[in-house]
Amino acid sequence: MMKKMNNIGSSWLNRMQVPPDLAYQESVITFWGKREVCIENYRHILEYRCGRIVLLLKNGKLCINGTNLIITRYSQEEMKISGQIHEITFET
């Protein structure tokens, strides 16, 4: 039943041409090589160390591992991280 409701909802959103990140409250992650990443639509920072940043998203967590990670810009809407990015993982 829930699955059917979800399918009806997603098809209705597609027909309305609503952007998926807005519709499904998904985060948008933009990479510039492995030296910069821009993250939009997140909730807040869980952990920030020199080699690890953990963010809480709307649906799970995002872990960024690397070296010399600096948050170049941080606001409620978006965050830009620069440095040497080795790994990005999604956790539930």
Binding site: H44, I45, L46, E47, Y48, R49, C50, L69, I70, I71, T72, R73, Y74, S75, Q76
Partner: protein, 414 residues
């Protein structure tokens, strides 16, 4: 641009320490406080934020149990605060801005482009006469009027565009390059006249276009003699003069005459022996005031001096009344010498040749000369006669004669 705005508003670099730094960062994001250059260093966080956001941090620090320490301060607010006692600096800066704005309301350069037949100086002089000069206010100029006046004043200019760009007046012109035709002057109606001889001589050639010649080739004439008359008698069938028609006599009359030549100069002359030492004295002239590095007039030994003078230009054509240059002085010693006979002869011949060349420029034909050169102990004399052929005529008004009574003025009609 972003950097400039941040600098104008001012920003601070902070170090964050405490129990829950991540909570502090999240509280900042939740309260619309923007951070940048956030990094984790030596167990603490460093970041930058604007001054206005910094003032809102106290309740957030209390909530998150964090402490903030200011590392650096940047921006205009801090600059003004640190230099608040230096009022002269700010007054000077404002004065500079005001002066710059004021100067930008004047024209400082007039650029003429596209002129070939009319020189730039000619056009600038004309514009000056019309009240357009360097240093005039922009509001006092009318580009359309300038274009109209330039087109009217210079007939070979076909197109003129005048515009103001910054503090420069640009005048672009196009000239008629297909052929510049001179305005044809209307010939005035010439009054009747006779031609008389302007000097004594023998008539060598006479070509009459209008009037009746009174002399022939080979005849002698004196100054004032009638050469060509403008009075044309109209005769009837019986050969009697019924009336006179008066015309403007026109003729080419060539007379052979003589010019007496005499030139004398002294054999003694003063020679200058220049020294190898050359002295240079820079100078500066401001308006009517001249600043010399040395007073040349007080130097006693005789010398020749010349100066290279340059004028200062503020822009392309805007000349300032400021001149600079160098006066070069070269001393010499005098010695009295005598021209040798050969040198005297050469100089006399040169002078004679110069005289003959000047006669030729005036249109005189030289037939020959018998100039003799006499050299004495003290002087050299060149004298003689130069035989020439030249046009020597003069116009004089005709004497209008009255027809005697009884004579019919009209011709018989048949």
């Amino acid at each position: 641009m972003n950097q400039l705005i941040r600098f104008c508003r001012g920003y601070v670099r902070l170090r964050l320490g405490g129990r829950m730094p991540e909570r502090f960062l999240n509280l900042c994001a939740g309260n619309q406080i923007e951070l940048w250059d956030l990094l984790y260093k030596d167990g603490s966080y460093q970041f930058t934020m604007s001054i206005s956001d910094f003032r809102r941090l106290q309740p957030l620090c209390r909530k998150a149990g964090c402490r903030l320490h200011i590392l650096e301060k940047h921006g205009l607010p801090f600059f003004f605060y640190n230099n608040r006692k230096r009022k002269g600096f700010f007054v000077g800066f404002l004065f500079f801005c005001g002066l710059l704005y004021l100067m930008s309301t004047y024209i400082w350069n007039i650029h003429i482009d596209g002129n070939h037949a009319n020189s730039t100086n000619t056009i600038l002089t004309f514009l000056e006469q019309k009240g357009v000069y360097h240093g005039i206010r922009k509001n006092d100029l009318s580009c359309q009027d300038i274009s109209t006046e330039v087109r009217a004043a210079f007939p070979n200019v076909t197109w003129v565009s005048t515009r103001i760009v910054g503090t420069q007046l640009l005048v672009e012109i196009k000239e008629n390059v297909d052929g510049y035709k001179e305005e044809q002057k209307e010939e005035k109606e010439k009054e009747p006249c006779d031609l008389i001889a302007a000097r004594d001589g023998e008539v060598v050639k006479i070509i009459t276009r209008s009037g009746i010649p009174k002399v022939t080739e080979g005849s002698q004439c004196k100054k004032g003699d009638l050469l060509v008359t403008g009075e044309i008698p109209i005769v009837d069938e019986a050969g009697e003069t019924v009336r006179y028609e008066y015309v403007h006599a026109d003729s080419d009359v060539f007379l052979k005459g003589k010019y007496y030549y005499y030139k004398e100069f002294e054999r003694k002359y003063t020679d200058r022996i220049y020294s190898d030492n050359v002295s240079k004295y820079p100078f500066l002239e401001l308006g009517n005031t001249r600043l010399d590095t040395a007073d040349i007039r007080k130097k006693e030994n005789p010398a020749v001096s010349y100066e290279n003078r340059h004028q200062l230009f503020l822009t392309e054509n805007f000349a300032l009344p400021v001149y600079y240059g160098v006066t070069t002085r070269r001393g010499y010693t005098k010695s009295e010498k005598l021209y040798s006979k050969e040198t005297c002869k050469n100089n006399a011949e040169k002078q004679l040749q110069q005289y003959l060349d000047e006669l030729k420029k005036m249109g005189v034909q030289i037939l020959g000369n018998d100039v003799k050169i006499e050299i004495t102990d003290t002087t050299c004399i060149a004298k003689g006669e130069v035989t020439v052929v030249l046009q020597a005529k003069q116009e004089t008004p005709c004497t209008i004669q009255e027809v005697p009574p009884g004579k019919d003025n009209s011709l018989d009609e048949q």
